[in-house]
């Protein structure tokens, strides 16, 4: 059945890699994306991508990469898929290299590596300070080749609205909306891959692009896909605050020698180096974020009395910095007007990455047959905390594996999507048209953008770096209040053409649905593990909580179940970064 077709939603690393792996086997792909795929959020990743290439003579190995990833994730990730990812990492880097990605080089012309958090060996390949951009451009160029051959059809400027599910519960396509004409259409496919990224917008301001609302995941969550480990949200320790977004200052700045400090008793205090002598400034992100939070919020020692500390590179050679971190330092300079080669940068933790996501099996299929998820929107590879430079890897690798798994799945189908009754597609399309019309009719007195600000403030305050049950209860009550007020929105733009407000209103509902999953998941989990930290339950509790959180949508709010984690390869041990033996 070579006429079979696959839909990929999302044009970041995972979506483009999946597309490549499917089309090169002769299957056609329809690729949907909110933006031209070359503008996808993967390009915001700066520092690099991990693979045990061992070009620095340090005896690195894929086994060590695997161990560091599991340990860094506080043992919450299923181990076999993570092992496969680490084993495949060098091959994926070599693939990118052949595509022409301009990785930085050693004097011998091999791929250079740098140090990142939570590891002791140089394992991070990088392309200056814009690694995500360069990887994305590599994949974008490859997909364009197939587009020129007519094997890939791009739908750029379209938003995914829902999966089309037949009466047997099998996914047979999608509905999507053209963001210019606002028309809603259904599209048939034998399998659908969602590669729709994270959901930083739930926190209002984050390091994410404004398209990272999580709406696609929220939509299929309401159609029966489980959302796993939602409470595990990574706060990047080094964000720079802004009105419109908290821009990222890459972990590479610490990897290349950046030191974090504030003043104590009138003298610089390098608190990470003091508290975590074994890893110093290169402790994993959850640890660094909590330390900065503690120094600023609990000890009141932030610079100028504000929630900020210094990230200092001024002791390094300016030319070295420009060469290794250029793109990153440019961003800081451009948006603050200060040169980080000369003055220390001011930073504070910012919401950055969702370790959790749609629950998938090891073939990346969700509970709905034919509906797959890959990339940040899946839950698979990072457990309770993600190590720096593992996200570009998991995005690439999940796309790399989901492609062949999709082909395997559609080969086993006994009937194609084109054999499914048109009424199934018409029914779902009609449902979406009605939702759309209802939004156009909204004529209350609430502003959707202000509701979104309130959601973000609520999540930052109550579901942030440090969590207390009473605050989490408040958070959920507030979200439910916002859901009530949502019904009373006043639509400020009712035009039937390129209406961004209508699309935002629709996304906002899905953000609210997922916000409850995050807040209630955090409330339930009475322990501290990775990015999820409760002072009232400061220890990790494997006996009760070495479990994957699985939220299921019901009309009365999310219901939670918990399933075992596969720990068949590495026995869980206590995770410590303050002593030499900590990370093995």
């Amino acid at each position: 059945m070579a006429s079979q077709k696959v839909i990929v939603v999302g044009g970041g690393l995972a979506g483009l890699m999946a597309t490549l792996r499917i089309v090169e086997k002769g299957y056609k792909v329809d690729l949907f994306s909110l933006v031209p795929v070359k503008r996808s959020h993967s390009l915001c990743a700066q520092g690099g991508i991990n693979a045990a290439l061992d070009t620095k003579g340090e005896g690195d190995s894929t086994e060590q990469h695997f161990y560091d990833t599991i340990y860094g994730g506080d043992f919450l990730a299923d181990q076999p898929p993570v092992k496969d990812m680490c084993d495949n990492a060098p091959g994926i880097i070599y693939l990118y290299d052949r595509m022409g990605v301009v990785f930085s080089r050693t004097p011998e012309g091999l791929l250079d590596l740098r140090l990142f958090g939570g590891v002791k060996k140089r394992r991070t390949a990088f392309a200056g300070g814009t690694t995500g951009q360069q990887l994305l451009y590599g994949l974008d160029s490859q997909v364009r080749k197939f587009e020129a051959q007519g094997l890939v059809t791009k739908y750029e400027g379209w938003e995914f609205l829902s999966a089309v599910i037949d009466d047997q519960g099998v996914c047979r396509g999608i509905t999507a909306q053209d963001l210019a004409s606002m028309e809603i259409h259904s599209f048939a496919a034998d399998a659908v891959v969602l590669a729709t990224g994270g959901a930083g917008m739930i926190y209002g301001r984050s390091t994410n692009s404004i398209i990272c609302t999580g709406a696609a995941a929220g939509r299929v969550f309401q159609q029966g896909v489980e959302f796993a480990n939602g409470e595990f949200v990574q706060f990047h320790p080094t964000g720079m605050l802004g009105d419109d977004k908290t821009r990222l200052m890459s972990e590479a700045s610490r990897g290349e020698g950046g030191r974090v400090w504030t003043y104590k008793d009138g003298k610089p205090w390098y608190f990470l180096e003091e508290w975590y002598p074994a890893y110093g400034n290169l402790v994993p992100r959850d640890i660094a974020s909590r330390a900065i939070y503690k120094v600023c919020v609990e000890m009141g020692l932030g610079i100028d009395g504000k929630n900020q500390v210094y990230l200092d590179l001024t002791h390094k050679d300016p030319e070295f910095l420009t060469n290794r971190l250029g793109g990153i330092l440019e961003i800081y300079q451009q948006f603050t007007g200060e040169d980080p080669r000369k003055v220390p940068m001011r930073i504070f933790p910012a919401p950055h990455y969702f370790m959790g996501g749609m629950h998938v099996d090891w073939n990346h299929m969700t509970a709905i047959p034919g509906l797959f998820a890959a990339g940040e929107c899946d839950h698979m590879y990072h457990g309770a905390n993600r190590l720096g430079a593992n996200s570009l890897l998991s995005a690439s690798y999940s796309g790399y594996v989901v492609g062949p798994k999709v082909i395997e799945y559609i080969k086993g189908l006994d009937r194609s999507a084109t054999d499914v009754s048109q009424s199934i597609f018409d029914r779902e399309r009609q449902r979406q048209v009605e939702i759309d019309e209802a939004v156009y009719r909204m004529d209350g007195n609430e502003d959707p953008f202000i509701l979104h600000d309130e959601l973000g403030d609520n999540m930052m305050t109550n579901v942030g770096v440090v969590r207390y049950n009473k605050n989490l209860e408040l958070a959920d009550a507030k979200i439910q209040e916002l859901m009530e007020r949502y019904k009373n929105i006043k639509l400020s733009d009712t035009r039937p053409w390129a209406n961004q407000t209508v699309m935002f209103v629709k996304q906002l509902w899905h953000m609210l649905e997922l916000a409850r999953v995050i807040a209630l998941g955090a409330l339930n989990r009475n322990e501290s593990r990775g990015a999820h930290y409760k002072p009232d339950y400061p220890e990790r509790n494997d006996e009760e909580w070495l479990k994957t959180t699985r939220a299921r949508w019901t009309p009365d709010g999310p219901k939670f179940e918990y399933s075992d984690v596969d720990i068949s390869l590495i026995k869980p041990v206590q995770r410590r970064y303050d002593v030499a033996g900590g990370g093995k």
């Binding site: 022409g100 364009r144 053409w497």
Partner: protein, 249 residues
């Protein structure tokens, strides 16, 4: 310190609709940029005359000047809105959509043609497949640096907007895809197909349509060496023409 942020925005409801100017005044806050002002504006879309209006439509994605989406003309200069800091702009701040691309709505334009040009010039390395074939070719760090300068092009359209030879009467593809030809012709694997790319830019709308005004390199927000690349491609196409002439059958 100004009391207000004063904006003058060129608006248009759709591709075939007339355009109009609308002014806005917002209370001043420090450290804002054009995107954060437009975000503030949409929360309460009222113009400077106190009339209710629709929120301004514009594209933006990353807000870190790396995706290229929010390109527009700000005080007569083509640039990204996210990195246009209000405190560094003279007021009123005048926002206009790009003029070399069809307007979708307000400040939003359709730049699809730029991606078509990348297709036209075959801006990719023709790898055999997305599987592991072991290490890629070695490359010197020096060559890598040159390539990186070129590969940071974010297809934003500034160079096309600034170029007098890109206009409705010309097919000139502009500087951005030309620089990509140079990039892929440098790569150890990419250069195997370099003549195909040269063929693609030796036709109408290609290299010869460059009028050497050198506006592109001034407009590029990422300092891509566009004019140097065009000069290099002139050399490459000349050599290629000679070799074709000498080797003709």
């Amino acid at each position: 310190m100004p009391e207000y942020i004063h904006l003058k925005i060129k608006r248009q409801d759709g591709p075939n609709e007339p355009s109009r100017w609308e002014e806005f005044k917002l209370p001043y806050k420090p450290n804002m940029n054009v995107v954060s002002v437009l975000m503030e504006l949409r929360k309460n879309p009222v113009n400077a005359h106190g009339q209710k209006t629709t929120p301004v439509v514009w594209d933006c994605t990353c807000l870190e000047e790396v995706c290229g989406a929010c390109t527009m003309i700000i005080n007569n200069k083509v640039r990204q809105a996210c990195s246009a800091l209000i405190d560094q702009l003279s007021q009123p701040i005048i926002l206009r959509p790009l003029t070399k691309f069809p307007v979708v709505r307000d400040l939003q334009v359709d730049r699809q043609i730029m991606f078509e040009h990348l297709k036209q010039v075959k801006a990719w390395v023709n790898i055999d497949g997305a599987f592991d074939l072991g290490r890629g070719p070695r490359m010197s760090e020096h060559d890598r640096k040159v390539a990186y300068q070129l590969s940071r092009c974010m297809t934003c359209g500034c160079c096309m907007e600034a170029c007098p030879n890109v206009n409705s009467k010309s097919d000139f593809i502009g500087a951005a895809p030309l620089a990509q030809v140079r990039l892929f012709n440098m790569h150890p694997l990419g250069k195997m197909d370099k003549n195909q790319r040269l063929d693609a830019i030796m036709t109408k709308g290609g290299l010869v349509d460059c009028g050497n005004s050198q506006n592109c390199v001034m407009a590029c927000p990422k300092n891509v060496p566009l004019t140097t690349s065009i000069a290099d491609l002139n050399r490459q196409t000349t050599l290629y023409s000679f070799s074709r002439w000498f080797n003709r059958e």
